[in-house]
């Protein structure tokens, strides 16, 4: 019987199986941010084990609250900063060059097909877009990862989501993943990985694939994965060109990770997205998804464009195309947070930042901030936000606030009208 990409990665990284079914994997990349890492650092110090297994495999960034908003968040940044310096962690990104972890780490070429990746952040599944097994973990798993370079998993079963059909105008990767979550439900992929395949996914850019994989966790998935292909090679080429003779050589190497044709799946979900319309969430769970057109009476107070889901340059272009030459509706606040400095600079060069500012948007620095209600756009009680982020949980962006998850295009269109708006009504 053939193997899935996940089984191949587990086989290649298996370090120990202390009990039947418990796979302790060697880690290629351990990623750290200032919210979940400081407690691990403090615990290592308390245990007199303030060491790292390999500083070159550890990547760190201050991204959740940056610039620091108060003394406590400043201390979290300081703990991470001092630790990175103490252990000679070169890939540490501090203010001025920091960005949202799941946007900046791929941008730097840190994630390669076949890698094992952990981070103390549930959206680590994003990196599966490169054909890596990338899982969010808690602080204790992170701590052991930092110290020993290993993490224990039960081999997850695989769900194959085969997506075919041509995306309608005004419909984007975000709409596709919301539709997938609607079908799987918030618990449907627990203890599973989701393999995203099919013609639609092959046609997607790496950025779109990251949007898909980013929200695998919202269906409970351990990781989302895409098969590495020529687009993966091209995205990574500037970082790997010394390792391979040519791109064909790199592609052949990447393809060894592909799931075998006779690999076994726990579930196969076939989705034809030809008829998919722009969608939005309408409750406190990410599987509560409706057509935007059916809930267009919902008034909004804030538009938020950014995050590890939709803060990349393609997302900003998608929103800017709708925002161009318009103004935010009276009483609606707009916040744009390009996910990394590189995205921000590119948006500047293309004149996109100007488009948003002329429309009345506040352009914030790269940060996770508002997505989890920590800074840079927290909602007041009773307020409503249409957001390109990934979670609509009660209180997520501020106590008593309501979050409607949507594509950058839907978010941008809603900002113009002041209520949830199908972007197709405004696309020029």
């Amino acid at each position: 019987m053939g193997k899935t990409i996940t089984e191949k990665i587990f086989d290649a990284h298996l370090k120990d199986e202390p009990f039947s079914g418990t796979k302790v994997l060697a880690l290629d990349v351990v990623m750290c941010h200032e919210i979940t890492t400081p407690v691990a650092i403090a615990d290592l110090q308390w245990r007199n084990k303030d060491r790292v297994f390999d500083p070159s495999k550890i990547k760190a960034v201050i991204d959740h609250v940056t610039p620091a908003k108060d003394s406590k968040s400043a201390m979290q940044g300081k703990i991470l900063r001092d630790w990175a310096k103490r252990h000679n962690i070169r890939d540490f990104f501090d203010i001025g060059e920091n960005g949202v972890c799941h946007a900046i780490f791929p941008e730097k070429g840190f994630i390669r097909p076949g890698n094992t990746v952990i981070m103390g952040d549930s959206h680590t599944c994003t990196h599966g877009a490169f054909g890596a097994f990338a899982a969010g973990v808690g602080t204790t798993d992170l701590e052991v990862g930092i110290l020993k370079g290993v993490c224990a998993f039960r081999l997850p079963k695989s769900i194959l989501v085969n997506i075919n059909g041509k995306l309608n105008r005004g419909v984007y990767a975000k709409d596709v993943i919301l539709e997938v979550i609607r079908r799987l439900t918030v618990n449907g992929a627990t203890d599973h990985v989701i393999e995203f395949r099919g013609k639609t996914v092959s046609d997607m850019s790496m950025e779109e694939r990251m949007t898909l994989c980013n929200m695998a966790i919202e269906a409970g998935g351990t990781s989302g994965l895409c098969m590495p292909d020529q687009k993966t090679v091209e995205y990574l080429w500037q970082f790997i060109s010394n390792d391979y003779k040519d791109q064909a050589d790199a592609l052949a190497d990447f393809e060894k990770w592909h799931s075998d044709p006779d690999a076994e799946y726990d579930r196969i979900l076939e989705i034809d997205i030809s008829d998919l319309e722009p969608v939005v969430t309408v409750g406190y769970k990410p599987d509560q998804v409706k057509k935007v057109a059916d809930v267009s009476d919902v008034k909004i107070d804030q538009v938020y464009i950014g995050s590890c889901t939709n803060g990349r340059i393609s997302d900003i272009r998608e929103a800017a195309a709708i925002v161009k030459g318009t103004r935010l509706s009276s009483g609606v606040r707009g916040i744009l947070s390009p996910a990394t400095p590189k995205v921000y600079m590119q948006a500047l060069k293309e004149g996109l930042i100007e488009i948003f500012m002329e429309a009345g948007y506040c352009v914030a620095n790269p940060t996770c901030g508002a997505c989890l209600g920590m800074s840079t756009g927290v909602l007041a009680e009773g307020e409503v936000c249409v957001s390109t982020t990934n979670r609509n949980f009660n209180g997520r962006m501020g106590k008593g606030g309501m979050v409607h998850l949507a594509s950058p295009a839907t978010a941008a269109a809603s900002g113009i009208t002041g209520h949830l708006t199908d972007p197709r009504t405004l696309i020029k």
Binding site: F19, K72, V144, T190, L372, G395
Partner: protein, 175 residues
């Protein structure tokens, strides 16, 4: 090894996420004890008093499916732990939350839906105590005038983590 068992808090809802267990605005705390007053602050559940009046009276939570979904924050199990809740019994858990519980030497016990239904039905008797024997894998629910025994299962790895007191202890001894 931690101690397990005591009065039960019933949370009759599925998909209780870690933002509800401990909101992100408290994640700038680096001391676990600081999380204590905020446990379940944003829980949306009919009849549940988020004012914390239940706090201190529970050591075991019984709930439905997919408990602990969402964010990976280990602050969620920590917020339970500093409130002396070291065991959650549910139909199933989100993977990261479940692992975080065992990684900290705590119990996340999964039971079939019909058994969870039976346990919820006990709440009609008033206050319920749950005694837990983690060695023999036995739960005993007690109320005035009655009791009910239920077996549970843990993987060998879960068991080893509970015995070792957590994953750091286990991994440090082995790798």
């Amino acid at each position: 090894m931690k101690t397990f068992g005591g009065p039960v808090l019933f949370l009759d809802r599925s998909d209780i996420n870690t933002d509800e267990i401990i909101p992100a605005k408290y994640l700038t705390e680096v001391k676990k004890d600081a999380l204590k007053p905020y446990l379940l602050e944003d829980l949306v559940l009919d009849g549940f008093e988020p004012d914390g009046s239940w706090r201190g009276s529970a050591k075991v939570i019984v709930t439905r499916a997919n408990f602990g979904c969402g964010s990976s924050r280990e602050h969620a199990p920590w917020a339970l732990e500093v409130n002396d809740i070291t065991c959650v019994i549910a139909e199933n858990f989100a993977r990261i939350f479940r692992q975080n519980m065992f990684n900290g030497g705590m119990l996340a016990i999964e039971l079939p839906c019909e058994v969870i239904n039976e346990i919820f039905a006990l709440s009609k008797h008033g206050d319920i105590i749950c005694n837990i024997d983690s060695d023999k894998k036995k739960l005993e629910f007690l109320w005035e005038g009655g009791s009910k025994k239920i077996d549970f299962d843990l993987t060998e790895f879960d068991n080893a983590l509970v015995k070792a007191g957590g994953w750091v202890e286990f991994a440090d001894a082995r790798y």
